[in-house]
Symmetry: C2
């Protein structure tokens, strides 16, 4: 009876060496974020299919691992479509479940609620190198704080963590949906086409200004709108205060609350930072998810092309569950990308316990074995990791192998 | 657009207070088991359906959350049965995936491989109080060690952990499949009916000696077999050395390796224990899973009726994946039961960081806010958890709420 040895397509067995780094980073994440008053919480990995398919997840909704109904509820003969067969699915992010969680438990949670989640999510993406169908996300969210203090604390917590992991000179890009809209409005794009404009703008990184111009024109937008629009981006390039510069260009079209908010966030994050990084206003930053309503931000690292963390304000999502609007703002770390970068850098976990191996000759009598085990107990009580293992015939090879696992000290015990 | 607020049936939102205890216990588990040389590892939560349905999982195979095929592979029109619709499912335990993992990765793993897994598993059991359809299991397994050192280290590690969690005077019951078989053989039960006999014997706790007798007779077993069988259990009750007593009763029918093995395990575990517990030979211990091949053991606690941990030797399972037999022995903690007991006992996490709340008046100018944030940074760098939060109108109530969350110290910051 043959069984399948490989993990399911696109998923990954975690070997001890990687696990050690992952466990260390998760520990550091929890410790650092708890220092900022974030509280660990968890939702089930399985979520109602109707919540997952509520149009909050964008393209991720196409990638859901769906779970078959069970027992009487499953009726294959009368099933017309997929919908008749499934009642739940694996979560594709931690934000939709957080909204449900808050709706379900808000009476037992403080205001504001500073949530910390570290958990696996699943997306049935086309398998490709470095991308997995099960991966860990690590989110912090502040629910119920309408002030910029939320954005500031999220950015400080995330950048402090990245600093502790040894990252330096990274860049936080920040923008606001209100800026995106004001710019589109100022240039005369029709309001119902904003999302389309932003999707094209989002490609600026990849296709450049000319590419964006070409796509906007090809999409049928008026040439004068497009010209005016791109002119705005060009006009503020290199400006010391790009927010003021943009506002001047738009003849004061930027509302002062948005402009002041962005400045306060950037100034505070810089002034109170515990890590070396730069925070810059970037009017080309879009971020894909349609649920964002205000500020949006991303962390970029020179070591790694795309962003390693991202987030923003989403003041409308929770209200869809509760009926009462609850403002919310979150920052999510690309945990798997961080781990990949660390492993590529040859990162090793600091402050590891001492590791000793006790090699025990085969057939040792019980009373003698007890002595060995007692000695191991004493060492372990003192914080040393002790492996008690049967001595192989080829002791030299055995020790070499153990040395590779990090055992620095060996002690041999013989039958007599 | 209404969404569903409750978690899916039988699953649970983890509130901050419980999460704190869970995180602490998981940390302690990992630290303690690493002290014994166990290595953290992980498999994906999703597993091939053919592996899950390979008859290793017993009744759990009826409780699988099955995952729908995706894309072209899903053809609803030609699907005749459930099998045509699914290609994977959520793991119902950590043992079957471990066997696959070892088969897939053994060339990169040490021998013996001491695996430590903490992870969620899913079973679609009928919802009932205290039982959840997603729950955490915590397993240690030693693969590739045929000696009793494996059993001893598993028992020492598990009991050390329970001791660290404050449990005392619990009981480890131990038996061996070879004892079960020798007893059934000695009494003349037909070999192909052993499993049926053991399933009835397993109910001894609940239905007592008389109940077992009744069920054996009702199942059609010969009265003299049944009488002889129960006579064995009665004869050794209260004996100082029940293994010797049993062997005498069976006229030396117990093979000496099994008998000596059990004694060595018990003596060593007692002698080198880091916790207060009793370890006793119990010939009525069966353990449900058919994959066990040798020793079996369970931990019982007076505070909690049923077992809180269980395990045993399963030397045949890995070979079903690899074709090469690999001996294996494991011990699994009932993590959720432990958490339930701890919460009922009013357990609080020791050594918590100091928690301070900084209350900031609304509308504080950016430069003043920076000062507050810098002060928070200093405190955080020293290990204090600092919540920076906007001051509410009803400050007294706000502080009371924060005190409930564990904030012992408050500092107020005003606009000027």
């Amino acid at each position: 009876m043959a069984m399948t040895k490989k993990p399911v397509t696109g998923m990954k067995d975690m070997l001890p060496a990687e696990m050690q780094v992952r466990d260390y980073v998760i520990g550091l994440i929890k410790e650092t974020y708890k220092g900022f008053g974030f509280t660990p919480m968890e939702t089930p990995c399985v979520e109602h299919i109707e919540n997952l398919c509520s149009k909050q997840g964008g393209d991720n909704e196409k990638l859901i691992f769906k779970i078959l109904k069970r027992g009487e509820k499953l009726n294959l003969e009368t099933a017309q479509s997929e919908q008749d067969l499934v009642d739940s699915g694996l979560r594709y992010d931690l934000t939709v479940p957080l909204a449900r969680y808050y709706a379900n438990n808000s009476s037992q949670l403080p205001t504001p609620f500073k949530a910390l989640q570290v958990g696996s999510v699943w997306r049935a993406e086309r398998p490709q190198k470095g991308r997995f169908r099960q991966f860990v996300q690590c989110d912090i969210d502040i629910l119920g704080d309408p002030t910029n203090l939320a954005e500031i604390e999220l950015i400080l917590a995330t950048t402090t963590l990245l600093g502790k992991l040894g990252f330096q000179q990274f860049k936080v890009r920040i923008n606001d949906r209100a800026v995106l809209k004001a710019m589109a409005d100022y240039c005369g794009f029709p309001e119902d086409a904003y999302d389309k404009v932003f999707i094209i703008l989002d490609k600026m990184d990849k296709i450049g200004m000319e590419g964006v111009e070409k796509e906007l024109l090809e999409s049928g937008f008026a040439a004068d709108c497009v010209e005016k629009y791109l002119g705005l981006f060009q006009a503020i390039e290199g400006e010391a205060d790009p927010i003021d510069a943009l506002n001047r260009q738009m003849a004061g079209g930027l509302d002062s609350q948005t402009a002041e908010g962005l400045k306060t966030i950037m100034d505070s994050a810089k002034a109170a930072a515990a890590a070396e990084f730069d925070i810059v206003f970037d009017p080309t930053l879009v971020r894909g998810m349609s649920y964002y309503t205000g500020t949006i931000f991303e962390v970029e690292m020179p070591e790694f092309g795309s962003s390693v963390a991202g987030g923003g304000r989403y003041d409308k999502m929770i209200g869809r569950f509760t009926g009462n609007e609850t403002c919310a703002c979150g920052f999510s770390i690309g945990f798997e990308r961080i781990i990949t970068i660390l492993l590529e850098k040859g990162f090793t976990v600091p402050f590891q316990a001492e590791k000793k191996a006790f090699l025990v000759e085969k057939g040792m009598p019980a009373d003698r074995l007890c002595q060995v085990l007692k000695e191991a107990k004493e060492e372990r009580a003192g914080g040393t990791q002790v492996l008690v293992v049967t001595m192989n015939k080829n002791k030299k090879f055995q020790k070499e192998q153990l040395a590779k696992e990090g055992y620095q000290e060996f002690k041999e015990f013989f039958k007599k």
